[in-house]
């Protein structure tokens, strides 16, 4: 369908900003950007995007934002725990406003952190509860959308981008930073599948999902044509830093064990509390209350006289005190965070065939093309050598 006006939520995020740029510069379609914090809107301000202030749980603001709009492109995802509620609130106002097409931008995360081979295609994939906050949140949002399609004839289409990269992507700067530090870490030798898709291809898929006929209630994976390994992804980006770096490998099992060991235990509450009660900083704060000042002075003097230095130190050690410096080591391990562990252990290639067949869409960028454009942006923002200007 050809829109009268599109409302874009999440318009100042990584994909949303680029979507606004392409709606203005490539597709020449009328739209309005829903903005929560205008300080993030400087990119879309360049294309003179129409902006309206509002949040998804503010019904009057949404009603104003939807005036004259017949299409919504829903990219906003503020917090995992709020996403379902916000999407439900948006759908209610959209139905009231008679919206003709709602493109919900979901994620391949709905297949969970360790999908089986059945998830390589939308037709056989199963979406369930995983106990992983982001996956569950995105799956929950989709469930809300699909329920509205079934029970309220809501004209929604779902797109599920895979690993979206490109200028302003959050995945890129950490790799460049690691390369600048001279050390790249791979997980399981980088054998995990990186279903990489360039951001412009995702934006165009969102537009295609709006334009296509006979797709209401459908869900479409938006992936590049040439999935790569995480080894290729990380090393190709890192090589753009223009500095030598070494590559080391960590086993996913070791990373899982490390984060498991770091998870807080119930007894940590008592240890932390005891440490706080014994700390000099806490005593200094407490001493600002005159009554405690004299009591603390008395208690410290009394204990100080009765305990030997060794006894005092043993108590401190039990409370976690240590005067030993951290060991200086060139080979200290930087443990990849749990989010990266999930991403880079991905076991399957996800097909984009359904989106190609139904949406009249096909990726325009190979991985090499996408990396090249990302590299030009990295130079511009001075993350890699080669800039000369702003």
């Amino acid at each position: 369908m050809k829109p009268t006006k599109i409302l874009v939520t999440g318009a100042t995020g990584f994909i949303g900003s680029r979507l606004c740029e392409r709606l203005s510069l490539v597709h020449n379609l009328p739209y309005r950007a829903l903005v929560r914090n205008f300080s993030r809107a400087s990119r879309i301000a360049r294309v003179d995007a129409e902006m309206v202030s509002g949040e998804l749980l503010d019904k009057p603001a949404l009603e104003r934002a939807l005036e004259e709009c017949d299409v919504v492109m829903h990219l906003a995802h503020s917090e995992d725990r709020l996403a379902k509620k916000e999407t439900r609130a948006l759908i209610d106002v959209c139905i009231q406003a008679g919206i003709q097409r709602f493109v919900h931008v979901s994620s391949m995360a709905v297949y969970g952190p360790e999908p089986g081979p059945e998830c390589s295609s939308e037709e056989t994939a199963v979406i369930s509860h995983y106990g992983e906050a982001y996956s569950d949140s995105k799956a929950g949002q989709e469930a809300v959308v699909m329920a509205a399609v079934r029970s309220r004839n809501f004209p929604a289409v779902i797109v599920r981008p895979t690993v979206v990269y490109g200028p302003y992507s959050g995945f890129v700067p950490p790799v460049i930073d690691a390369a600048h530090r001279g050390h790249i870490t791979l997980i399981d030798d980088g054998k995990g599948v990186c279903n990489a898709v360039y951001v412009d291809d995702v934006c165009d898929a969102i537009v295609a999902a709006m334009l296509a006929d006979n797709v209401i209630g459908g869900a479409f994976v938006i992936n590049g044509d040439t999935p790569v390994s995480w080894r290729e992804f990380n090393l190709q980006l890192a090589s753009m830093a223009g500095k030598p770096f070494d590559v080391s490998n960590l086993a996913s099992a070791d990373i899982r064990e490390y984060w498991h060991s770091q998870a807080p235990r119930f007894t940590d509450n008592f240890r932390q509390l005891a440490g706080l009660l014994a700390s000099n900083d806490f005593h200094a704060e407490l001493s600002r209350v005159p009554l405690f000042e004299s009591f603390l002075g008395w208690a410290k003097n009394s204990l100080g006289e009765r305990l030997s230095d060794q006894q005092k130190l043993r108590i401190k050690l039990k409370l976690g005190y240590s005067n030993a410096p951290a060991p200086r080591s060139a080979t200290s391990v930087e443990w990849p965070d749990p989010g990266r562990l999930v991403r880079e252990c991905y076991p399957i290639v996800i097909s984009n065939q359904k989106a190609k067949n139904a949406l009249g869409w096909a990726p325009a960028y190979s991985f090499e093309d996408g990396v090249q454009l990302t590299g030009q942006w990295l130079k511009f923002v001075r993350m890699i050598e080669g800039h000369g200007d702003a």
């Binding site: 205008f38 300080s39 360049r46 200028p167 325009a364 960028y365």
Partner: protein, 345 residues
């Protein structure tokens, strides 16, 4: 001049973030200021200022209320309103400290200056970098020949915008005349012109695609007392730049960093080694004021003594003229990752 001896009765027009987070904590240090009015079209902002600083000031949305009850005013509203509000205040007999830029256009700023002169009012502009103490050091290093012959001057201001903005005033053509170049460029260009010399033969490019720019680059000839050198100014709202004035000489490079207004960093090669020295004033004062507090002190002294302020509006017009000229000759900054017309549909 004032109705109550040395106490200056202040009215504040615009109670947004810059007033609450910038001006009020600084100006309330001065015992001779009495904030009488908080004026804003959004009542909540004025109330926030009142509560946060415990002010016994009246809240209003009409500057007419200031009449005969205020000696001086802070104008901290969107730039397009600087001129009309400042002029009206001066016509009410009120001295004005106006946020930068002085006005949208140089001609408009000139009219404000003429009005201030006719009405014998103080009109000062919030160009705080003029109050960075390292300006003195920088000037002395250049004029004393410490850097050798000057070969280039670079000015950079850039960082992602990261404070909460509740409106689109920064981007809306109804409230602003430009983007990052207009917003932070005016600080840098004013500082360069005021401190070192005039700019000429301008070239300017930015990344506007019909809206306001997020990145801009100005190159120009900078006239120093010994001749002309190239100047390059870079400005960004999207990424971090070096945030300094850098003067490159044949003997040394001097950097005045925005986050350290008291020192100059001098890089010099000696033999095969290069060193960085931190240059400080020999007689640092204890308990020194921040640049913004120093600007308020300067303004208050001007108001009391009827002497020109160090940031008097008439001395700020040239930077606006340069910005206007730059926008007039603007060329497009190529960004291939934005402009690719390749489509997947």
């Amino acid at each position: 001049m004032t109705d109550s001896g040395n106490i200056l009765r202040l009215g504040i027009v615009g109670c947004g973030a810059i007033t609450r987070e910038g001006h009020l904590p600084e100006l309330l240090q001065f015992p001779n200021i009495d904030v009488r009015f908080l004026c804003d079209t959004t009542y909540e902002y004025a109330e926030l200022a009142q509560l946060e600083f415990g002010l016994d000031a009246e809240i209003t949305n009409d500057i007419s209320d200031f009449s005969n009850l205020v000696d001086c005013a802070l104008v901290a509203v969107p730039p397009r309103l600087h001129a009309p509000i400042s002029m009206r205040l001066m016509q009410m007999g009120i001295d004005v400290m106006c946020e930068k830029p002085t006005a949208d256009e140089a001609d408009q700023a000139q009219r404000m200056v003429d009005e201030a002169a006719k009405l014998e009012r103080i009109l000062s502009v919030g160009l705080t970098t003029r109050f960075h103490r390292n300006n003195r050091i920088l000037k002395a290093l250049v004029s004393g020949g410490e850097l050798g012959d000057i070969v280039e001057v670079v000015g950079e201001m850039g960082a992602p915008l990261d404070w909460t903005m509740t409106t689109d005033a920064y981007y809306n053509r109804n409230t602003t005349a430009g983007g990052v170049f207009y917003d932070v460029g005016v600080h840098m260009l004013d500082r360069i012109i005021w401190l070192l010399g005039d700019l000429d033969n301008l070239n300017y490019e930015d990344d506007s695609y019909g809206g306001v720019e997020s990145n801009g680059i100005l190159t120009a000839d900078l006239t120093l007392h010994k001749g002309t050198v190239p100047f390059r100014g870079c400005f960004s709202w999207t990424h971090m730049l070096d945030n300094c004035v850098r003067i490159v000489g044949t003997e040394a490079i001097a950097e005045a960093r925005l986050d350290d207004p008291d020192h100059v960093y001098l890089q010099r090669r000696v033999g095969d080694s290069s060193f960085e020295m931190v240059v400080s004033p020999a007689t640092a004062e204890a308990d020194e004021l921040t640049p913004l507090a120093e600007q308020w002190q300067d303004f208050l002294e001007s108001v009391v003594n009827r002497t020109p302020s160090r940031a008097a509006a008439d001395t700020t017009i040239r930077a606006l003229q340069v910005i206007e000229e730059a926008y007039r000759i603007r060329t497009h900054m190529a960004q291939p990752w934005v402009e690719t017309g390749r489509s997947a549909i």
